[in-house]
Symmetry: D2
Subunit: 429 residues, 4 copies
């Protein structure tokens, strides 16, 4: 049963000034333990090791996504747009608020190490025996599943899915603005107010009035810069690599029957893949960091070293290479092996375009990934047809190979490496 | 031995735009494990439970204090002020950078629970067997002790002590700006550039050119507002109370010989007061949060409940009272007792002026706590002599009693309380 | 007849981001020649000679006041407050937009020189044969008079008067924010969003919910600082003095029958006090500045000198005096006279508290000048009863005497002045 | 003779916070009547008719350019770069401060109407009988000519010319930031601090350290957006067209011997091309606006109408066309003629790429217009070689035809136009 709060509640937010909560359901959702857990998951994972301001949590981001969605919907309602299904407002707001509920600690690294997907966990939490689900059910027995449908992108009303997840959605707008604010860079200063005013519900999706084209151009440029300056920053990548290696090593040890001095719940269930929703909800970044602190004292030297690297920020160094073929990689690995290094851990190759972030590429995929402009004649055009600047960046396939390695260790054996290999690792100085 | 970096290094900072590092010593200090630990200590303790943006760490704040100090000194040097002892620059910079090194997790609450002082720990780290000390010793064997002297406020050059710790120091300027930025309030927008330009080294202390009076007025008003809006916010106070109660309960249990399922190093040494510097450096907020997560499963119900409250943010409610006498308190305690509540834990009285934060009060203390204005005739005057606005706020003794209590529990027994007691706890609704 | 615009129009505004126009009447009013004239009147008169960014016009300020009023009303309507008379919205919006319509060039100085009042002119324009009036009449024959009633403060609905003109009105909020933005100072950063959310229509006036007290405190401190830092800045005062002297001299010459080489319409009607509304509407700052440029070539040396001073920014210097009695003034005047200076023009005494700006003083005047807080028990309390900080500043009667004089001229005759007089003018160096 | 000021002076600036003046020469230059005149010339001409905040003057911009140059030089000096000729600092600072001295009112339009060039006037003022010249001569008899040499780009030290005028110079950085600030758009938020830190004097020119590439990319994108969003805004173009037509008509009338009721000095000398430096210095925007106000009453109807349009902002409407050939233009002109309109004034064709603003195009011109990146191996590379994003925008030749016309007049005769012509002018509705 839907109820408005007697009096609107607000959260002070540095990005949107105030986040306004008007519905009792939203207020209750925010106060569930599952949503509060997002306070203990950083929005940008290990980026705080590169940009010390980037300590902000998924809790703030989720509130921000909710707030932007609220503003969009309230504008749709004020303008009385025919194509907006008014009764779907609450589903959209809940999905916006809860879309990141399933994120675990340092998501990207952990997901890679344990082959999990945060969207799945979001749905499991929405539909499991949780406080969130029982709050959602106040709106009707099928309401949790409706919200999960939006997350799964199979909800019957495609416009709601499109509102919550599209190349110009509240999620992306909030993270650009928020990540720029907390890192302190100024790439993310998009004119959100203008974009919001230009959005139109139109035949089952959200499109942009064509006079908003320049604001969208600017938004896409911001995204581009944020990806290459912040999200793909090599120092951040280096810390993610260490993180992944720690998990890889810990899992190996666990599978080898190593007796951990420190392995509180729910870590065992993570390692042996028996996690329940209740287990998962106990995972947070405090636990992961504490494990790393304690694992420095484990008998396994490699695990200890990796944990120290992460905790004390003694990350791997990197060299950038314009190109890199498989043979060269094999040669390096062989040379490392010969010199007593362990190429499984002492060498990582990274090519940042294959990361789980999506740089906008209009031709790459289906229409739901496109930004469409609506003109006065009610014609729809994909933005890169109209905008030179979008067209010019939309094919860009930047990206270079980065080799990551423990500088301290490599320096010791550098003379034992073949000259042409050694050169690669010296170039940086 | 002092060396400049071949090339200046910078940290991107949302508050000061860039933090500039020019000296090899500063760079090395930042990279010690003791300084990196500050990344795991929040600047504002539990304030993030009130202002979700306030996740920033003491690491960023320490860099900020260093940066402001660097700018002040570089200006003193450019202007060639006779009263500034140029050779003390590096001591001042190191003390500025390291002044918070001894802060533990949720400092204020933990310090109260275990009677510790973070300044002492800062000195112990500076002088103990640490990376920081060995970096400092590159400047000379007595250099660590010089820096510790500035922290202890007994350094031979009082102007250095005054620069690092005074009512208008880099520490205060950074935290006002930074805490305002991350919480998102706009009280903290002081005109730092103007204040910096007005500072003058003068006869062993830092004074302010009198034409800077208005900027100082504005700074003091910002401080005033920040204390009452942010630092003394009742919701934050409530979370600090829970925190203190958790530690109090855990210590009680420990002393009673309770067998903790989860009590990794260095927690035992915290409880039995045998902490070494090495133990202390393992304390961080990740560990404390993880302990709270795990303690929810301890057999002691009270500890579990308190931990759940903190983790799930089910804090104590509060009522504000203009006055409160000891008899009333005793009556409430008795009534609580009678109704089956535990007044030791279910009732806390707080009067926010006796907190370890200093609101500026010029007449309260010695001259080193005063802000002095220097006029063209080289006369020094204490600012409240000259400024109406400072005079008018300097005696203000705001503050009200707050009663904190578990609303859920009290509501159950409310009818068992004497009417006039019950009324106190109902008033809020 | 009221009509909404088919599509909302916006103005890009640096202070409010966007100014939204939704009504056809507002749009038409903005496009009248009388409103466009406000583009040629600076918001802060001669302040641009002190703060070079302060070039902004009354046009922008008027749009800003309209926008804030629009937001307040739209919030009143959303919340459905019983005490807000919905049908008065358009009167309030028009009065907000047009409240400064009668401002002339460099208003304060010109008003003093020619004893005019801009509120009168606003009403004359609203009710005269003007485009504005004919637009307003689309809403009904008595609509122009309704709007004028709000300006005259005798409109039948006191809440509308109170909304448009009170110590916490849209006018003041806009000018604090706007003047701070364009001068570049940071005193004016009030939390407008929070204040707006706290406003309540209540029994014929606008009051503030008591939980907004701190935001109001901060607003009053901002006002205080803006008045003393910006509006009363001695350099700005100096330029206003020159301006007033130019008009005084030109009027004297006109009255003496001097033949001006340059005196286009409507200047003669200004001098002989026969201005019609049509004349008045031709007055703008471009004309005044052009007159000053041309008058430098008039045969009257004094007028020429004063105009050059204004144009080339060779303003009068000033000395500040804690006290000044009439006898001293007379002595200075006599000494000036004796030394060949003209005390009518070469000496001006200024005591900035008697300026046509109102610093908030709650006890000074009637209840309509008070800020009232509304608590949960629907009690109204004047803010200084509740707030220590407001009480502490509300009696402040700062202000010092300033003597303004042409430094170049005084320096020449300084040795001819009696020693104790000469000293006054030397002190500054 | 060079002297430092006893005490640094500052200007409060919204863009750079403070502008610092340390040299007596700079202080004196700012106080000359020629420099003060820049207060009466708007930085963005008629843009204030589109963006109401854009009232800022060339005075503020000139201070800003000076300040950025001062920061660059002071950094070059601190870092002791071998390729920076220290003794040229003062020439560079003066040239930076004075580079816009020759701008007249609404420069671009007036320059087009009267075939003048502001750079010429800058040099004439520097070298003529002016206060500026006499201040500059304090540095040596040939100093004015040195400064003029930098403006003329033939100064013996090319690095000084390059510092003051290049695709990444202080002029461009200031106007992007300043115009963005005053219009209120957020395209101009470039990371100036980072760019400044990356600049290097190198073999007679200023280059950029290659790690600054992304900041430069962002700067170029900002420029791109500012040109198309602000500088080429069709409403601004429309007002410039009216302005040009007014001058064109007035000149025609003057040449036909029309007796102007209002034509004060120095307007006649403007019309008959006999302007001296002294005449030119009397030209400002106040005079131009006053002339327009007065000319509304001239007997020539066309002049009156155009002036009213400008003053009351009844600008020409426009239609955008993807392409336009000469024949179509001729047909429109003929049709207008036939319908009684005057195509000389009632029709203007505009193609914004041929405006006197330079969008960055690396291949278009010589090396001095290129931005060069310097890598660790001291290789220089033109930025578009390295940056995909710069390469992708560098060839962009956006731009569409715009037809400007008096909508009110065209609407009256629209039925008399051939159908396919009429359609062009109707399309907009």
């Amino acid at each position: 049963m839907y109820r408005q709060l007697r009096e609107e509640k607000v959260f002070k937010d540095p990005v949107h000034n105030y986040v306004h909560v008007q519905d009792e359901i939203i207020w209750s959702l925010i106060n569930t333990s599952e949503f509060q857990r997002l306070r203990r998951i950083r929005q940008l994972g290990t980026s705080y090791l590169t940009f010390h301001g980037a300590e902000h949590s998924r809790f703030s981001h989720s509130l921000g996504v909710y707030e932007i969605t609220r503003r969009i919907i309230s504008q749709f309602e004020r303008a009385n747009y025919a194509d907006w299904p008014r009764e779907e407002g609450m589903v959209a707001l809940c999905a916006a608020l809860l879309h990141d509920l399933g994120h675990g600690p340092f998501s990207h690294s952990v997901e890679q190490a344990f082959q999990m997907h945060h969207e799945d966990w979001t749905c499991r939490i929405l539909l499991g025996d949780t406080e969130v689900r029982s709050v959602l059910r106040r709106m009707g027995d099928d309401f949790p599943d409706k919200v999960a449908g939006v997350i799964r992108k199979d909800y019957k009303q495609p416009i709601v899915v499109n509102l919550v997840s599209s190349p110009l959605d509240a999620d992306r707008m909030d993270y650009l603005l928020r990540d720029a604010y907390f890192t302190g860079v100024n790439y993310g200063t998009i004119d959100m107010d203008r974009i919001l005013r230009m959005l139109r519900p139109y035949k089952g999706r959200i499109v942009v009035k064509d006079s908003g084209m320049h604001a969208v151009e600017d938004y896409l440029m911001s995204r581009y810069q944020m990806y290459w300056q912040i999200y793909f920053h090599p120092v951040t990548r280096s810390s993610e690599i260490i993180l992944r290696q720690i998990f890889k090593r810990a899992k190996e040890l666990y599978e080898q029957g190593h007796h951990f001095k420190f392995l509180p719940e729910p870590l065992p269930s993570l390692f042996n893949r028996t996690m329940t929703v209740q287990d998962y909800l106990q995972l947070d970044e405090a636990l992961v960091q504490t494990a790393f602190m304690q694992w420095r004292k484990e008998t396994d030297e490699l695990l200890g070293e990796l944990c120290s690297r992460f905790i004390d920020r003694k990350l791997y160094k990197y060299v950038e290479m314009d190109s890199l073929d498989i043979e060269t990689i094999e040669e390096i690995r062989a040379a490392f092996n010969k010199a007593g290094l362990n190429p499984e851990y002492d060498l990582e190759i990274d090519f940042p375009t294959d990361l789980p972030y999506d740089v906008f590429r209009p031709d790459g995929e289906g229409r739901e990934k496109q930004i469409l402009l609506l003109d006065r004649q009610e014609r729809l055009r994909e933005i890169s047809e109209v905008s030179d600047i979008v067209r010019s960046i939309s094919g860009l396939q930047r990206g270079k190979f980065h080799l990551y390695f423990p500088d301290d260790k490599v320096r010791i054996i550098i003379d034992e490496l073949p000259h042409e290999i050694a050169e690669i690792f010296v170039e940086q100085h």
